[in-house]
Amino acid sequence: MKKTFSRLLAIEIKKAIKNKFFIATLGIATTFSLFSAWYMIDHYRFQTFLSSIDGNPMTNASSLYNHWIGGEAMSLGFTLFFTLLPLIAVLPYGWSYFIEDKNGYVKTVVIRSNKWQYFLSKYLATFIAGGLVILIPLVVNFLLVASFVPAITPSMVYSLRYPVMIGSLWSTLFYTYPLIFVLLYLILNFIFAGLFATMSLAISFFLRNRIAIILTPFFLIMTLHYSRTFLAYRYYNEISPINYLHATCVENAANAWIITGQGLLFFVLTFGITMKLGVKREIL
C-alpha cells in the first residue's frame, strides 16, 4: 500500500516539475528576479561610486539584505515578481486535476491505487511545484546579488534603508542573524506559493473552466490585498500575502499571528476540500 503511494507520489512530482508549463513559468519568474538583481547591483555600484566621491560612505546602509529581491521594494522586477506571485505559483501544475479528470486519466490511476492516495499525491505534487517555481528564482536572485553586494549585517542606525519594523515577523533575527532571517523567509515563500497552487486544485471541484481555475486564486489574493484599504488608519498590521511575503516591510509590519492564521486557513480549506470532495466524488 505504502509502496503504491510512494510510486504515485514520485510520478506526480515528476509530472509536476517536468512539464513545459513549469519550465516556462520558472523562466518568467526567474526573468523577473534577474531584472531585480540587475537593477539593484547597478544601484549598489552607483551608490558606492557616489559615496567614494565625498562625505560619509555609509558602508552599513547598503548590503545584500536590502538589495536582494526580498529586501528591496523599488525595482520593476520586485513589482512584477511579488504582484504576480499568486499567479506564477498556480501556472505550473494547478490545472492538472481538471485536465486529468477531463481526459479520463484519473480513472486509470484510481483503479490501480485509490482515490485517497491519488488526491494526496496530487495535492503534494501541486504544492511542491508551486513552491519550487517561486523558491528557485528567489534563491537565484539572492545568490546573484550576493556575488556583487557584501552581506553586511543590517544596522538599526539606517532604519530607513532596512524597513523591518519593531514587532515585525522575525525582526530580531534580521538585525542579528540576517542569513537565518532570509532562509526563514524563503521557506515561508515556498509554503505560501504551494498553498496558492493548491487553491486552484481545490477550485477545480467547483469550476469547469480551466482559465477560471487558474486565475481565481490570483483575483482572490488581489481582492484581499485591496481590502486593506478599508483598514487604513485603523489597523497597522499587514494582512496581504503579496506584501508580507516580501522579507522587508512594504507598507505595514508583518504579524506572525496573521500569517500563521491565514496559512492555516488556506491549508485547511485547500486540503479539506481536495481530500473530502475528491474522495467523495464518483470517478468511475
Partner: protein, 280 residues
C-alpha cells in the same frame, strides 16, 4: 448576412458566459465607491460639513491610478491595486469566450461561414462590445451609488479631492473641463485596445500566458511613467490636464489607434494561417 448571424451568435453566447463577471464587476465598483466615500469622511472628519463627491469625482477616483514613481530606497513602490484589479478583471472577462469557442463549436462555425476573417472580426466586435458593456456597468453602478448616498450627479470635478485624496503631484491651478472627457473615454479606449491585443496574443501564447503578458504591460505602465506604455493613458492623474508634465491626450489617441490597428491586422493575418485543429 453570414457575418451578422455569426455576430448574433457571439453576442448570445459570449454574454451568457460573461454574465456572472458583470455582477462581480458591480460588487467591485460598489467597494470602490464605498472606499472613496469612507476616505472622504476620514480625511474631512474635522470639517464642519463633509464635502459631497460628484458622479465624476467617484469615476475619477476609480480610474485615477498613482502618481509617477521615482525609485528610491526610502520610498517603496505601492501597487495601484484598485486600478489594477479593475483593468485585469475586464481583461480576464474577455479572455475565455473566444478561446472556448475556437476549441469547441468554433470549428464547425468556421467551416459553415467559409471565412476565417469573418469569425475573427466577429470576435473582435464581440470583444469591444463586452468591454463597452463592462464600462457601462461601471457607469451605471457609480450613478446608482450616487443616487443612493445622495451625492450630486454632475460632471464638476472637485479639485480639493484630487489634491487631498488622489495626490497626483504637480497639479494645475485649475482643472480644465477637458479632464472630464479624459476620465470618461481614455481608460475605456486603452481597455479596448489592450483587450484586442490580448485576444491576438492568445493565438500565439495561449490564454493564460497572454493574460500574463497583458498584466505585465499594466504593471509596467504603473511603475514607469512613459508615453510608450499604454497603461499610463488609462491613469487619469498622469494626464496633461491634471499635472504639469502629464501625458498628452493626442499621444494617447495615437497609442489607442496603433494598438487597435496592430491587433486587428496582425491578428487577422495570423489567424488566416492558424492551426485551428490544434485547439480541439
Amino acid at each position: 448576412m453570414k457575418f451578422f448571424r455569426l455576430l448574433a451568435y457571439d453576442y448570445k453566447n459570449g454574454f451568457r458566459v460573461g454574465t456572472v463577471k458583470l455582477l462581480v464587476m458591480v460588487l467591485f465598483v460598489v467597494a470602490f465607491c464605498i472606499d472613496f466615500y469612507y476616505r472622504k469622511h476620514v480625511t474631512y472628519s474635522f470639517d464642519e460639513v463633509i464635502p459631497s463627491g460628484t458622479f465624476i469625482d467617484y469615476l475619477f477616483s476609480i480610474f485615477a491610478g498613482i502618481k509617477e514613481y521615482t525609485p528610491s530606497k526610502e520610498e517603496n513602490f505601492i501597487i495601484p491595486v484598485k486600478w489594477l484589479l479593475l483593468h485585469l478583471f475586464i481583461c480576464y472577462s474577455t479572455l475565455y469566450y473566444p478561446f472556448r469557442d475556437l476549441s469547441s463549436m468554433g470549428l464547425n462555425i468556421l467551416v459553415r461561414t467559409k471565412g476565417r476573417l469573418t469569425w475573427w472580426f466577429s470576435k473582435c466586435i464581440w470583444n469591444v462590445s463586452y468591454v463597452l458593456t463592462m464600462y457601462g456597468v461601471i457607469l451605471i453602478t457609480v450613478f446608482a451609488f450616487c443616487l443612493i448616498t445622495k451625492e450630486p450627479i454632475s460632471l464638476n470635478i472637485t479639485r480639493m479631492f484630487v489634491t487631498d485624496l488622489l495626490q497626483p503631484g504637480d497639479i494645475h491651478e485649475t482643472l480644465s473641463f477637458n479632464l472630464v472627457y479624459i476620465i470618461l473615454f481614455y481608460p475605456l479606449l486603452i481597455l479596448i485596445s489592450l483587450n484586442l491585443l490580448q485576444m491576438t496574443l492568445v493565438l500565439i501564447f495561449k490564454p493564460l500566458y497572454s493574460f500574463v503578458v497583458v498584466t505585465v504591460i499594466w504593471l509596467t505602465s504603473a511603475y514607469l511613467f512613459s508615453p510608450f506604455l499604454p497603461g499610463n493613458y488609462a491613469m487619469v492623474i498622469r494626464s496633461e490636464y491634471v499635472i504639469q508634465k502629464g501625458l498628452s491626450a493626442s499621444e494617447g489617441m495615437v497609442m489607442f489607434l496603433f494598438l487597435v490597428s496592430v491587433s486587428l491586422i496582425f491578428g487577422s493575418l495570423y489567424f488566416r494561417r492558424y492551426d485551428v485543429l490544434g485547439e480541439e
